[in-house]
């Protein structure tokens, strides 16, 4: 049996496509996107403050014989920042608890990457040996959203352990703040998406996307295509889903430690918060982990509320249509083309949300600690709870 036919058997096929998908998501999408969002953070913050931001590092064209260097709007900073962090000395203070000190940055970086395993980042691509297209999701599991919440809340352990293991007062305060903040927001975060499962009847993220393709994006569940469906329950759901979205979005800001809820690393109060004692790649893992969490969070928001990889009037990877050229090209080309477009649609939506995250950071000042607890426990928890019952009532009495 030669290698090609071995790779086309069902189980080896599943294994190698999963590996390819994982490598693509990790090295083709997430790490460049993390690097790009660090750059975007600097650039957008600069523009909002009427500055220019990094604009020098670019292509050193003079090294290979060109007349002048090209700065490319400072895009080289994307590469320069991680290299700088890699080359720095990893200084470890004497008084830290070595084991937890080492393990904490990894615990912060890994959960956001794990979350990405269940997010469908595209429709499908090419065709497998069983005749079905390969779905563009690494693990298509039925408990999708539960898995997301379970894994993403593990991220707080990294922060708490870093705060404790550093054996220093400011990281300690940051760790304490992080744990209590996480407790008060996990509730609202989980409860605010329960209406979605009531509406869609599934926890599987791929099926939620499929539901949204038929019924319209959940932020405004009125279908764009396939005839006009103007039932009363759809309109009744619009304000409810808006509330659900706002609660989820704000909770996601708190979950990813972004301003206005960046209390664990409040620079003005806590020096650097939980990562005060870290340097070099240890600090970089916290830093990049924050952005990876942002990307994972944006991916979840896009999947739950903005139709995932779908865009109205754009066919998915199972399409056989390609502007009327489909009879003149290879039979797999239309599917591959639209599959590629869908992946790009997904990451374009994620990028827009990341821009929103950054935009909010440079607009809204940090909440005071008691305000944050009050918001989480007294308002969002109750709003999310009431929202579940209202959605249930709409579905029972209006949808029939």
């Amino acid at each position: 049996m030669d290698i090609i036919s071995f790779l086309q058997q069902p189980i080896p096929f599943l294994v190698w496509t999963s590996i390819v998908k994982t490598l693509f998501v990790l090295f083709g999408a997430i790490l460049p996107l993390v690097s790009l969002s660090v750059f975007a953070e600097r650039k957008v913050s600069a523009f909002i403050q009427d500055r220019l931001g990094p604009n020098r590092v670019g292509a050193p064209a003079t090294l290979i014989g060109f007349k002048k260097d090209y700065s490319l709007w400072g895009l080289g900073q994307m590469v320069a920042d991680p290299i700088k962090l890699l080359l720095k000395e990893n200084f470890i203070p004497n008084s830290v608890n070595k084991f937890y000190y080492y393990i904490a940055p990894k615990l912060t970086m890994i959960p956001p990457l794990l979350v990405l395993a269940v997010i469908p980042f595209g429709s499908s691509f090419l065709v497998g040996p069983d005749g079905k297209p390969v779905p563009m999701v690494i693990a298509n599991i039925d408990i999708g959203v539960l898995y997301v919440f379970a894994v993403s809340s593990l991220g707080v352990y990294g922060i708490v352990l870093a705060g404790w293991a550093s054996n220093s007062k400011y990281p300690f305060l940051g760790g304490i703040r992080s744990s209590s903040q996480m407790i008060s927001y996990e509730l609202a975060l989980g409860l605010s998406v329960v209406p979605i499962f009531l509406i869609c009847g599934t926890l599987n993220l791929s099926q939620i996307v499929d539901w949204q393709i038929v019924n319209g994006w959940l932020i405004c569940p009125i279908p764009f295509v396939g005839g006009v469906h103007l039932e009363a329950w759809r309109f009744a759901l619009i304000p409810l889903m808006l509330i659900s979205f706002i609660v989820f979005l704000v909770s996601m800001f708190a979950e990813t430690n972004r301003t206005p809820f960046d209390l664990p690393e409040a620079e003005q109060e806590l020096v650097g918060g939980y990562h005060t004692e870290y340097s070099s790649m240890g600090f970089a893992l916290f830093f990049l982990g924050e952005y990876a969490a942002m990307i994972a969070g944006s991916g979840v928001i896009v999947t739950l509320f903005f139709g995932g990889w779908s865009l109205p009037f754009i066919p998915d990877g199972s399409s056989h249509w390609l502007f009327g050229l489909e009879n003149h090209v290879w039979h797999w080309l239309p599917g591959a083309f639209w599959g590629f477009v869908n992946i790009n649609v997904f990451f374009a939506k994620v990028s827009l949300l990341i821009f929103f995250f950054i935009w909010v950071r440079w607009t809204v000042p940090r909440f005071r600690y008691d305000q944050l607890m009050k918001l989480g426990w007294i308002y969002f928890f109750e709003i999310a709870l009431a929202n579940i019952f209202l959605t249930a009532l709409v579905l029972v009495y209006l949808k029939k």
């Binding site: 909002i48 009427d50 500055r51 935009w359 607009t363 809204v364």
Partner: protein, 175 residues
């Protein structure tokens, strides 16, 4: 009697906080697009310089000046050397030979060194100089690859200083 400050009464919209957030977002995005359009406050230093915006009294690098006949004004009194707070100035005095037309001035610096690594640009040397021989000019980018380069000697100081005509005329013949 203690002053009692009333808490402001918030309207419903203000209590919700979201309208204020959206207002803030609108404001920042306006600045964002203004900056993207190219209107920023940043001056990109090596290409754009602020030299023509420097004020008259700007205190840049200290320099020695000559008068309109090219005569060096410094008489090597060493007051600047003594007042210099970081002790950046070192003067080696020398007698002017009697054959010189300006022999009546008696002294001049044989060597005059200002260590620009030490200089703090305070301007006390300019203030104390009885001959108005040392002035802080508008050069601010004083750089060098070695410590020796950063030590301005007499030739360098006169090169930077140039000529400063008729400020003081006490050594000239009476007219």
């Amino acid at each position: 009697m203690a002053l009692v400050l009333q808490r402001p009464k918030l309207s419903l919209a203000e209590k919700f906080y979201l309208p204020a957030v959206i207002g803030g977002l609108v404001l920042t995005i306006k600045h964002f697009f203004k900056s993207v359009g190219g209107k920023t406050e940043t001056m990109q230093y090596p290409e754009q310089k602020w030299d023509d915006k420097l004020p008259e009294w700007y205190r840049g690098a200290p320099t020695l000046v000559a008068d309109e006949w090219g005569r060096e004004r410094c008489v090597s009194c060493q007051l600047c050397e003594f007042i210099c707070p970081p002790r950046a100035i070192t003067i080696t005095p020398e007698e002017i030979p009697s054959a010189d037309p300006w022999a009546k001035v008696e002294k001049r610096p044989k060597e005059f060194e200002i260590d620009m690594i030490r200089c703090i640009y305070c301007g006390l040397c300019e203030e104390v100089c009885p001959e108005q021989a040392i002035f802080l000019r508008k050069d601010y980018a004083i750089t060098g690859y070695t410590r020796a380069e950063m030590k301005h000697d007499k030739a360098k100081l006169y090169e930077l200083g140039g000529v400063m005509p008729d400020v003081i005329n006490k050594w000239n013949e009476k007219k």
